[in-house]
Every structure is written in structure tokens, then in C-alpha cells.
């Protein structure tokens, strides 16, 4: 067994970046404030000092060209890791993300390898200004060609980011703002790879499964732990990746438990929880013992601080949904 070190999710992200840049000199980091400042959250801290100004580059304040230039860098044979400072600002790059990055391989019929990773923090609960908290994973997962990776633990943040950077397909690597310093755990030292597209059982259980991703896995685990004291056996399935989606893991968990709650932070209508529910209906309809319930963000723009707690699913809402689903005959 290799040794582990307790890290925050932010430190885990930083460690993966250091390791991948040291391992492969084709890896370049670009974005706003990623070089001298080490990123506004310090995710890229130390990279500039260690790998120099050619490989760690502060760009103009220009999301579209950060992503668009990453396409060209990939065409030249480099492996760009671009940072969008907050996912809500990626709307200003969405034409490049969805229209170009995602289809570079397809529209060149395999000539160009879009080995591009776009890192971006997202999600609420930290009282940010407008557009700093939006959860856009469902919109991104709807774009063919993109991989959407959303770690829930510090260990996965490192292992999935290393895998994402090495992956020949484009990856949107979404990091929960609340998790940067709020999630910590033992992380394997040295090289640590977690394959993309394999879900993880975060809690084993028999009565019901909560399906979640990113920070809400942490919250679902707290709910599971609290209900265990009452003798309820609630599993938590951490999807880890929305694309590619681990259909088999979803089916296995639902077939085993028969009752499901899907939680997400994004607005509900058209969101990814709906995709998970549709998958469950297609794969496991006859295993279901109760209607599937979604706990989602509300169908309004992500709100300001005094009302944001009403928007983001919390333990009380998840617990209530779990109890109701368990009580359904």
C-alpha cells in the first residue's frame, strides 16, 4: 500500500496539477490569474514558480479565447489545462466549449486530438456574487464529445484530475467551491489515477439509494450516517462522471435497493437528475418499489446570499425526500 496524506480538495487538485506537469512537458496551464497569483483559490499555486512562464500563463480576461486558444494548443500537440475562474462565466466561452472543443475530434474525423481539460469551480453555499455559483453540468453533459467529471472527495479530485489531463478526449472538470476547503480526506501520495466513467459506492445500504455527484455526495453521506442511527440502511452512489455515465452502476444500485432519491444542485427542469431518472426507468422499472424522487435546485437563476439556502438542497430536504420514499408502500 502506498502512503496517504490528508489533504483538502483544493490541495488535491494542486497536487495533481504539479504531478501531471512534471510527468508530461506537453501540459500547459492557462487562464486568468493562474500564474503569479496561483489562482484566485490557489488551485494553481506554485506551478508558475516551478514550471515557468511558458507553461503557466495568465491570459487576458477573455473566457472565449482561453478555451478557443486551448483548441489550437491541442491542435499543435500540447495538452492544455485551461481554467475558467467560475463556471457561471463559461457562458462567455460556451460557443467554444460546445461548438468547438467538444467536436474537434469529430469534425476532423480523428485528425486532431482534443486532449483538453477545462477546470472550473462551481456551486453554491458560499455567498458569492451573482453568476459565481451556477451549476451547469446538465448543459455540458448534453454536449456529445465532452466528458463531465465531478469529484466528491479529495482523493477523487486528485485521481480524476490526473486521469482527465491524460485523457485524449476533452474533459470539463468541475470543482465544488464549498469542497475546496470544506472537503478533506486521505489522498494517496504520488501517482494516483481514478478511471473516468466508473461510479463509486460512497455508502453501502439496502433500503434506498441516494444518487448524487460532487459536493452533494458529502451531504448525502451525512444523511445516510444520521439515518443509520435509526436503523435505516441508505446507500449513496457517487456518479463521479456525468459523461460518460456509468449506467451499469446505476442499474445495480437501484436493482438492489428498489428505492431512489436523486439529488442535484442545478435547477430541476432539464437538469441531469432527470437524465438519471430516465435511465432508471429504462433500466430498472420493474425493480422500483416507490416513485423516484428528485431533490434539485429551484427553477430560478442562482440567487443572492439571503435566499440562497432556499435554493440549494440541504440535509433537511434530502432527509425528507428519503423518508417519504421509504414510507411509500
Amino acid at each position: 500500500m502506498s502512503d496517504t496524506t490528508e489533504l483538502t480538495m483544493l490541495q488535491a487538485v494542486n497536487e495533481a496539477l504539479h504531478l501531471e506537469m512534471a510527468r508530461d512537458d506537453r501540459v500547459v496551464v492557462l487562464g486568468q490569474d493562474v500564474a503569479r497569483n496561483g489562482g484566485v483559490f490557489r488551485a494553481t499555486e506554485g506551478l508558475f514558480e516551478k514550471f515557468g512562464e511558458d507553461r503557466v500563463v495568465d491570459t487576458p480576461l477573455s473566457e472565449g479565447v482561453i478555451v478557443g486558444a486551448a483548441v489550437g494548443l491541442a491542435m499543435s500537440g500540447l495538452v492544455p489545462v485551461a481554467e475558467i475562474q467560475f463556471l457561471g462565466f463559461s457562458y462567455q466561452a460556451m460557443h467554444q466549449v460546445a461548438g468547438q472543443v467538444a467536436r474537434l475530434r469529430y469534425r476532423s474525423q480523428g485528425r486532431f486530438e482534443p486532449a483538453i481539460t477545462i477546470r472550473s469551480p462551481f456551486g453554491g453555499g458560499v455567498r458569492t456574487p451573482e453568476l459565481h455559483s451556477d451549476s451547469l453540468e446538465g448543459q455540458l453533459a448534453n454536449v456529445p464529445g465532452l466528458k463531465v467529471v465531478m469529484p466528491a472527495t479529495a482523493s477523487d479530485a486528485k485521481g480524476l484530475l490526473s486521469s482527465s489531463i491524460r485523457d485524449p478526449d476533452p474533459v470539463l472538470f468541475l470543482e465544488p467551491l464549498r469542497g475546496y476547503r470544506g472537503i478533506r480526506g486521505d489522498v494517496p501520495d504520488g501517482e494516483h489515477l481514478v478511471p473516468l466513467g466508473e461510479a463509486r459506492m460512497a455508502r453501502r445500504g439496502d433500503d434506498l439509494v441516494i444518487i448524487a455527484w460532487s459536493y452533494l455526495v458529502e451531504m448525502a453521506c451525512r444523511v445516510s450516517d444520521a439515518l443509520a442511527d435509526e436503523g435505516l440502511s441508505v446507500a449513496v452512489l457517487d456518479l463521479r462522471c456525468l459523461a460518460p455515465l456509468d449506467l451499469a452502476a446505476i442499474a445495480a444500485a437501484v436493482d438492489h435497493c428498489g428505492r431512489v432519491v436523486v439529488v442535484e444542485e442545478a435547477s430541476q427542469t432539464g437538469g441531469f437528475a432527470g437524465e438519471v431518472v430516465a435511465t432508471i426507468v429504462e433500466e430498472c422499472f420493474w425493480s422500483l418499489e416507490a416513485p423516484v424522487v428528485r431533490v434539485s435546485g429551484l427553477d430560478v437563476p442562482y440567487p443572492v446570499g439571503m435566499v440562497e439556502d432556499a435554493f440549494v438542497p440541504d440535509e433537511a430536504r434530502i432527509t425528507a425526500a428519503v423518508r417519504r420514499t421509504l414510507e411509500t408502500a
Binding site: A70, H95, Y106, R111
Partner: protein
């Protein structure tokens, strides 16, 4: 100042004449329903062919918009082959072999300009020689990507030639509704790079301007914006009827300035070209086209080709979709 040699001028004219007759053939094939919607090249031949001849296909890149391929013969015969494959709707039409330094057509306007900056940046970081030339139109100069990419190119000082084909029209929108700036080249000042307006109907002037920009770029002196001033002599695409909005007298005036007529007259005057050479060039270009078109139509296609090259490995869901496509009895389940 590097004027093109006589041989180069002749080679440029050969490519221009070829592009014109092949474009007409393609237009007729579209009217017969044999190819999809496409953008004719009429009037753009000098600007595109002369640019290609001022570049080195061994080390320079061209990122096209969508009107250019027929005049890019210099970058490899595969450009025509794949363009025809593209027009018959075969997925492989977007694939060029690694030796051909031309990117696939870009239908989304101006989005290729940031790619050009990134590509030139990556080449510089890897100490690869060469420049990246990116084509776009006057309409594209209104897109955010043009400004964002121009700004970044200026900051980085990368070897990019921004080649704006100003043909006066973005479908039906005339230039004066596209910009209030005196020229598009003037916008280079805001990027901290030189900008030039060139007569895009003058092949020698185009060659000279691109050659100079390339020399500067190779010397590490950064990007250049070149505005090729010309006139769209044909329709925007096969789906467009320009008689609804292009003033007839304006088009008539532009036709008197046809870039092929100009270069032809110049070379004839100097004893470098004659009617026989012209007719032979047209015939050879059409024979070459017909042969390539027959091959394009005969190119086989796998029943699940639509799913290829989306990602390196099929996801669980894609694998099911592929199985369904390959199973003639397949039903959604």
C-alpha cells in the same frame, strides 16, 4: 518587398482558373441535387490562391472559414479530394491527412480565429517554425472571437496572419452595416499589431502582403491583420439569391474588376499566358475535378460511421447505440 516571380504568378493563375471552373461545376451539381449547400468562390480566387502561394505548405498552416478550398491546391491535392467528399456528405470529407496543414472547414463564423492563435502559440512553445494563416470574412470581423483572438495574439506576439476576406457582403448585410470603422484593417491598432488593406483582386499585391507578414512573423515580430478588399461576384451560398439585395450596377462594376481577368491580361501582355494555356488549364482542372468527384461518390461508408470519432472509446450508451445501428432487427430497449 518580394514580388512573385513569373512562374509563381502563372502558378497562381492556374489555381485561380481551376477554382473558378470547378466552382461552376460544383454549383451545377448542387442544382442537380448531387451535393449539399456550398459557398461559391467567385471573386475570391486571387486573395486565396495568392495567399497560399506566399506560404510554405511544409511548415505553415491554413485555417479556412468555408469558401477557400478550391483555391488551396498548393497545400495538397487532398484538399480538393476531401472537399468533394465533404460536399457529397461523407464524414471523411472533414479529415485531411497529417501532411496537409489545412484545418477542416469552419461553419461557425470566426471561431477558428482563437484556434489559429492557440496553434501558433503551441508551435512557438515547441520551437516549430512556421506561421498560421486564418481566413475569415468581413461579417466575422463583428464576432467576439475576432476581437478576443486578435487581442491575445497581440499580447503573445504569436506568428499569425489574420486574413480578412472583405467581399463587401455578409449574406445580405453590406459592409456599412457591419462596421462604422473606415477599414477592418484599422482594427489591428487596438490589438497592437500592424494592419493593411490590400486590393484582393490583385494577386501580386496579395502575395506581397502575405509574404511580408509571414517574414515578420517568422522573425518573431508577431501577428499581422490583412484585409483583402474584393467583391463577392456570386451568391453567398447555393441557397442564396443575391439579386434580392445586390445592386445590379454595383455587381456590373465589380465584374469589370474580376481578379482572373486582371491577372490573365497582365500575363498575356507579358507573353506569359495565352488562350491556349487558359483553355488547357480549364480542361485539366475539370478532368481532375470529375475524377475526384467520381471517387468521392464511390467512397464506401460503414453503417455505424456516424458514431466514429466522437470520443476515443464508446461510452456505455454509445456502445448500445452502435449495437443498435449494426443490428438490422434492432429495437430501442
Amino acid at each position: 518587398m518580394a514580388q512573385p516571380s513569373d512562374d509563381q504568378l502563372r502558378a497562381i493563375l492556374v489555381d485561380m482558373v481551376g477554382a473558378r471552373v470547378q466552382a461552376r461545376r460544383l454549383w451545377n451539381l448542387q442544382r442537380q441535387g448531387q451535393v449539399g449547400t456550398l459557398a461559391p468562390i467567385d471573386g475570391h480566387e486571387a486573395a486565396i490562391a495568392a495567399t497560399a502561394h506566399a506560404l510554405d505548405p511544409e511548415q505553415d498552416w491554413i485555417l479556412p472559414q468555408y469558401r477557400e478550398p478550391l483555391a488551396l491546391q498548393r497545400f495538397g491535392s487532398e484538399v480538393l479530394d476531401r472537399y468533394l467528399l465533404y460536399n457529397v456528405g461523407h464524414p471523411a470529407g472533414s479529415h485531411l491527412p497529417p501532411t496537409v496543414r489545412v484545418a477542416p472547414l469552419q461553419i461557425s463564423l470566426a471561431t477558428q480565429i482563437p484556434h489559429a492563435v492557440g496553434l501558433a502559440w503551441g508551435m512557438t512553445l515547441q520551437n516549430q517554425p512556421g506561421v498560421v494563416t486564418v481566413f475569415f470574412g468581413d461579417g466575422s470581423s463583428s464576432e467576439g472571437d475576432f476581437y478576443e483572438a486578435g487581442n491575445l495574439a497581440g499580447v503573445l506576439g504569436v506568428p499569425v496572419i489574420f486574413l480578412c476576406i472583405n467581399n463587401q457582403w455578409a449574406i445580405s448585410t453590406p459592409l456599412h452595416q457591419q462596421t462604422a470603422a473606415e477599414t477592418i484593417a484599422a482594427k489591428a491598432a487596438a490589438f497592437g499589431m500592424p494592419g493593411f488593406t490590400v486590393d484582393g483582386n490583385d494577386a501580386a499585391a496579395m502575395y506581397d502582403a502575405v509574404n511580408e507578414a509571414r517574414t515578420r512573423a517568422l522573425a518573431g515580430q508577431g501577428p499581422t491583420l490583412i484585409e483583402a478588399h474584393l467583391y463577392r461576384l456570386g451568391a453567398h451560398t447555393t441557397a442564396d439569391d443575391p439579386t434580392r439585395y445586390v445592386p445590379a450596377e454595383e455587381l456590373e462594376e465589380a465584374r469589370r474588376n474580376d481578379p482572373i481577368d486582371r491577372l490573365r491580361a497582365h500575363l498575356v501582355e507579358r507573353g506569359l499566358w495565352d488562350d491556349g494555356a487558359h483553355a488547357a488549364t480549364e480542361a485539366e482542372s475539370l478532368a481532375r475535378f470529375d475524377e475526384a468527384f467520381d471517387r468521392a461518390r464511390a467512397t464506401p461508408i460503414a453503417p455505424d460511421a456516424v458514431l466514429d470519432h466522437c470520443t476515443t472509446v464508446d461510452s456505455q450508451r454509445l456502445a448500445r447505440q452502435r449495437a443498435l445501428l449494426l443490428d438490422p432487427e434492432g429495437v430501442e430497449s
